[in-house]
Amino acid sequence: MSTLPLSGSSASAGLVTDVIEFSVVDGPGNRFVVFLQGCNFDCLACHNPYTIKECIDCGICLDVCTTGALTMVADRVVWTESLCTGTDACIAACPYDSTPKARPQAVADVMARIRRASGFLSGVTVSGGEATQQAGFVHALFSAVKAEFPRLTCFVDSNGAADVAVWDGLDDVMDAAMIDLKCLDDALHVQLTGKSNREVLSSIELLAKRGKLYEVRLLLMAGLNDSDELLAQTGRWLAGIDPTMRIKVIGYRAHGVRPSALPLVEPTAAQREHYADVLRAEAPFDLLVI
């Protein structure tokens, strides 16, 4: 496997932001979701920007923690979950888009929590951050899930910016992926995310060809990446891959987003319906607008 894991992540341990035992919005059925810390994009519209970077142990967050849940031990910030009251003041104070709560967790630790919820699940989804940045850990986790619970499906929720070697490496244990397409226009994509969309487009084509593309998500911001022309072009490109593709159109919502140089505007319900009309004019997609 060619991907280099982030520090704190290896095949047997990942840098985990958090887990959710029951999620109804991260793929088919009820799913256990693992959020991995660290992302290779820096999106203006990121809803959980504290998952983007790794903690640098600066200790700024210690000043705002009133319960003693955060301490400095041997130059490292240590979070004690049992003392935490969950105000997230630490996350609000972090100037580096990180969180002191993300911690290395072994596959066995995550598996213990999955085991407890397993009877209630359709599967496991790894999200982020960017899941493929810790592909070695994802592979190890999915292998463990498949070995113990063959019934459960394993999904990756990704920004798509991963090379073919990552998808090759995950192929034997990953049932499907959900890919965000922030923008088909590359110049605008760079503005929105800080990176080119070249790998994203390749990932969508590759996964669709392998039958492993569960859905493509389009996050649309009013007046920014939602022009009829761009949307129709996106629809045509996706239809060329699979005209019945499952597409989730997500109207941008400001919740959790950092202040931005570009104006980020929430589309109205009418605008969201219009997006659906524009896309439906291109192909009979399995379309969901939220």
Partner: protein, 502 residues
């Protein structure tokens, strides 16, 4: 008599209840009388002189096969006749609310009358007409029908009709077994999103307790069909612990045996009055024509207020912050108390309780409108529930101890409507974890569960000024305030059928 907010029918029923209230109460010991007056034990305000069993579950399949002589009804031959037959029979099924609490396992009852040439549209139209009749003739949310565990044309039609009509009546329970197709459960989930119905029950667990002939009636009471429950008496664990200065050990060893005995005495007095004095089973046509059998009845022994009881005992034990639902010591105490009550109930023989092999059935009683500050049954207080997985892990182990019914309500976010399959996963998991009976409240739903029965939010607005067509809405209007189910302010309304008169 002069109220503008109560309809004719409702006035007649209240006057009857008043008349019942002037008759002498069955003889009780001084201790039982004192406990009843202090509402530590409770008779559910069924009336002072029992003349009908509380829950009657006629064998409707047998009635359809053999006809009913008393009602001069012959066995029906087609669907229209069967629906008419059942409607007439329902009008003659007694209960303490005056409305039948059980309408039958409707899919298995009606499936034989659905010919292949009848289209789904035609079937829907017939059932839709009938469904409207039931809601208007039997306006009470405790009127309950069962469906499942097998797939069929009738159960699918019932779900379609339910979603199109959005009625309170009838309440619905889907029996679920491992063989029930996922697709049928998913159809039920889609119905929950629209109407808050059905409940989901653990079919294998019920069959193990009651045999194949069982049903869920009224407010999730599970009983034998062709049988029922003479009465429901209940023990208020919150009040019981208020008279107990000691800790958990002495509560289980000394207090519980005392209160369980007094509750059983109250039940026995009511059973004897019903069976021996009123002679119900000697005279009622359901009994004389074999549609119910006295030997398949028992007493329901209800408990409620477990949460407050446990939390108070934890204080007595010096664990001030240990709360039921959140602390392992509190959860262990809850399980111990319930297990102890179950043991005591199984050691206290009762007459005419062949349905329970001579003993009462334990029931986690979901409460009535008067239960101020006391949590329904064995539930975790509303608003204090932990995450769903932990919630299920805490409550599931006690479900098996309640053959006559227990129910928990899970609150789910409306986003789940886009992913009903997720609910199927949770239902399968909950049943496998040993849950007996549960349902879901969707945050955005027009229908809400109050303690266990269902009301439409819009029906609660202005109940006092304008009255309500469903008598259960009166209960809901007060229960909603008392249980802080929502924050909407409703003026207090007395529910005559289950509350004290006057």
């Amino acid at each position: 008599m002069n109220s503008r907010a109560i309809g004719y029918d409702q006035k007649v029923r209240r006057l009857a209840a008043l008349a019942d209230g002037v008759l002498p109460y069955p003889a009780l010991s001084t201790d039982a009388r004192e406990a009843l007056d202090a509402r530590i034990i409770c008779d559910m305000f069924e009336g002072d002189r029992p003349f009908t069993p509380r829950y009657v579950l006629p064998d409707y399949a047998k009635a359809l096969r053999q006809g009913v002589k008393y009602l001069e009804l012959e066995a029906p031959c087609d669907l229209d006749d069967a629906l008419s037959f059942l409607t007439i029979l329902y009008s003659q099924v007694p209960s303490v609310t005056t409305y039948p609490v059980y309408l039958g396992d409707l899919d298995s009852l009606l499936e034989p009358y659905v010919p292949a040439e009848l289209s789904d549209e035609q079937l829907d139209a017939k059932l839709r007409r009938w469904w409207i009749q039931l809601d208007r003739l039997l306006p009470d949310a405790f009127v309950h029908a069962n469906i499942g565990p097998h797939d069929g044309r009738v159960v699918r039609s019932i779900f379609r009709v339910e979603r199109s009509l959005r009625q309170v009546v009838p309440n619905l329970t889907l029996k679920v077994s491992p063989e029930t197709p996922d697709d049928l459960i998913e159809d039920a989930v889609r119905t929950v999103f629209v109407t808050g119905k059905p409940h989901f029950v653990n079919h294998p667990m019920m069959v193990a307790d009651h045999g194949a002939e069982y049903a869920v009636v009224s407010c999730y009471n599970s009983l034998k069909t062709r049988g029922g429950a003479h009465s429901l008496v209940r023990l208020n664990l919150k009040r019981a612990v208020e008279r107990h200065p000691g800790g958990l050990d002495s509560f289980c060893d000394d207090s519980l045996p005392h209160w369980v005995e007094l509750t059983a005495e109250l039940g026995e007095a009511r059973i004897r009055a019903l069976v021996e004095d009123a002679g119900f089973f000697e005279s009622n046509f359901l009994s004389t024509e074999g549609l119910i059998e006295q030997e398949r009845f028992s007493l329901m022994f209800g408990i409620f207020g477990l949460a407050e009881c446990v939390n108070e005992l934890m204080v007595h034990e010096g664990h001030v912050d240990a709360r039921y639902g959140h602390d392992s010591r509190a959860n262990a105490a809850a399980h111990r108390i319930v297990a102890r009550i179950s043991e005591l109930v199984k050691q206290r023989p009762l007459p005419y309780c062949g349905g329970g092999d001579g003993f009462a059935y334990l029931h986690s009683q979901s409460g009535i409108d008067l239960d101020l500050d006391t949590t329904a049954g064995t539930r975790i207080p509303i608003g204090d529930e932990p995450g769903m997985l932990e919630h299920i892990e805490v409550v599931a182990p006690i479900h098996e101890l309640f053959p006559a019914g227990i129910s928990d309500i899970f609150h789910v976010e409306e986003t789940v409507q886009r992913n009903p399959r997720a609910m199927v996963d949770v239902i399968r998991g909950a049943l496998a974890a040993g849950m007996r009976d549960f349902t879901f409240n969707l945050d955005s739903n027009e229908f809400i569960r109050i303690t266990g029965y269902l009301v439409r939010k819009s029906d609660l607005i202005g109940v006092e000024e304008h009255g309500a067509r469903h008598s259960s809405d009166y209960l809901a209007a007060t229960a909603e305030i008392n249980h802080t189910v929502t924050t909407r302010a409703i003026k207090r309304v007395i529910a005559a059928e289950l509350s004290p008169i006057g």
